[in-house]
């Protein structure tokens, strides 16, 4: 029997597991293949929806489903997080003390927020990258009577376009609340332009200027003083704020950092085309967990997962890999005023986003509902 173990039940892990269940339907049914998913939680969160929760456009319950209901019934599922990953032996030890051995391992443990690595950031700033954070920010924004809002971006972070999206949607929101004329939005970004992708920065910079949104680039957060309400950069700039919204720095999971050689920060060393853990041919890395210099985004996870599904199923059925990951990423960008754009690229095709339209925004809203089909490996 071939045993496949997927560590992590988020977007990447769910798409891999469900995709394999579809591709290996016969093998699952006749018992020659077994798929197991282990996760730290029994819930599945649609993370891109947190942006909409922040502005009251969706409710929490619309973003969360039971993980068991997402997974194919034949997949074994345990809420029992990994505490040690032995990639050489292809064995995982979990919190309950159980061990799982396998023939193919997929590590899809995602990323976590580490605002505590910047002094004062966790205490002084809101963030919308968790359900609790998005709800708290939502409530604060509803009561906001005007003032200086700093939108602060730290590296590395997942969802690369979220800083642009939150800023544009915030501008709309303050206008709807009637406090835009009493407010100032200041956007900080770590590199020398308003977005890492040049074409996105080329669109956003004049748009920000048109909307009166100020920006401070080459701003890498050194510390926040929650009492004085100031944020200071390594580059020596200090900004005052009335409301601080941060995209905090991220790391990979501690178990990856502790278990995998070379996994600085919890990012596992990954072959950018095969998606193997470097040095292995039967351990794959998927989603945010990789150390590939690529967007940490849902679409990246999705396209990587599709590649891993094709490859593991081909290895089991035919003893050979099927294809390489081509580096594809596709991200919608909410640009405010009920409009949106999208950007896609891969290892050989650079990004070239189109101008925002209402149609793309509406398609994004539709995708927010269709996501659950993606998680089930159907879309």
């Amino acid at each position: 029997m071939k045993r496949i173990l997927v560590i992590g039940g988020g977007m990447a892990g769910s798409i891999v597991a469900n995709g394999l269940a579809r591709k290996l339907n016969t093998e699952l049914n006749n018992g020659t293949t077994e798929i197991t998913v282990i996760s730290a939680t029994d819930k599945h969160l649609y993370q891109p929806g947190l942006l909409y929760l922040t502005f009251g456009r969706v409710t929490e319950s619309e973003l969360i489903r039971d993980q068991r209901s997402i997974l194919d019934k034949r997949i074994k599922f345990h809420v029992d997080p990994a505490t040690k990953i032995d990639a050489d032996a292809k064995k995982v030890t979990t919190q309950s003390g159980k061990t799982h051995e396998c023939d193919y391992m997929v590590i899809a443990t995602g990323s976590r927020l580490v605002p505590e690595t910047v002094p004062g950031l966790a205490e002084g700033a809101h963030n919308f990258y968790s359900v609790e954070g998005a709800k708290k920010l939502r409530d604060t924004l509803k009561a906001f009577k005007g003032g200086k809002v700093v939108v602060n971006v730290n590296a590395p972070h997942k969802c690369p376009v979220a800083p642009i999206e939150i800023t544009c949607m915030l501008h709309d929101f303050l206008g709807e609340q009637g406090v835009l004329d009493k407010s100032e939005i200041m956007y900080t970004y770590p590199v020398g332009r308003v977005h890492a992708m040049q074409p996105v920065a080329d669109w956003a910079a004049p748009e920000f200027e048109k909307l009166g949104i100020k920006s401070e680039t080459l701003f890498n957060t050194k510390e926040v003083d929650p009492v004085k309400k100031t944020i200071t950069s390594e580059e020596g700039v200090t900004l005052n704020y009335d409301l601080l919204i941060t995209i905090p720095p991220h790391k990979g999971q501690q178990v990856v950092e502790d278990s995998i050689e070379g996994a600085a920060g919890g990012w596992a060393p990954t072959d950018k085309k095969k998606l193997y853990l470097e040095g292995k041919t039967d351990v794959f890395i998927c989603g945010d967990t990789t150390n590939i210099p690529i967007s940490k985004a849902g679409s990246t996870a999705h396209f990587e997962a599709d590649t891993i599904v094709d490859n593991i199923s081909s290895l089991i059925k035919e003893g050979t890999m099927a294809r390489d990951y081509d580096g594809k990423v596709f991200c919608f960008i909410e640009t405010g005023k009920e409009e949106g754009s999208y950007v896609w690229f891969n290892y050989t095709t650079p990004p070239a986003p189109g101008l925002p339209t209402k149609a793309v925004h509406r398609f994004k809203l539709a995708y927010n509902k269709m996501y659950w089909l993606s998680a089930k490996g159907m879309l």
């Binding site: 590199v191 890492a196 600085a264 920060g265 210099p293 050989t348 650079p350």
Partner: protein
């Protein structure tokens, strides 16, 4: 001093070479080095400018056939 870390950001569109460098600098010890490979034309000027502004050390900047190789040491 640990072994030099390599970031091969050739062809990396997002988040791009500078962001990858900034992220990796947070993970290494003071004195350790990163070699960044990039074919993004701005990297060759952005990285030295930023290092000087923040206080990290640019060890070397080399033009290869189709990319730049920059070595940066974490100074603080």
């Amino acid at each position: 001093m640990s072994e030099r870390k390599l970031i091969d950001a050739r062809g990396a569109a997002c988040p791009g070479p500078m962001m990858e460098l900034i992220a990796m600098l947070k993970l290494i010890e003071i004195g350790d080095e990163i070699e960044l490979l990039s074919n993004d034309p701005g990297t060759a000027s952005d990285v030295p400018t930023w290092c000087q502004k923040v206080g990290h050390t640019l060890i070397s900047k080399t033009k290869e056939e189709d990319h730049w190789a920059l070595v940066v040491s974490r100074a603080k």
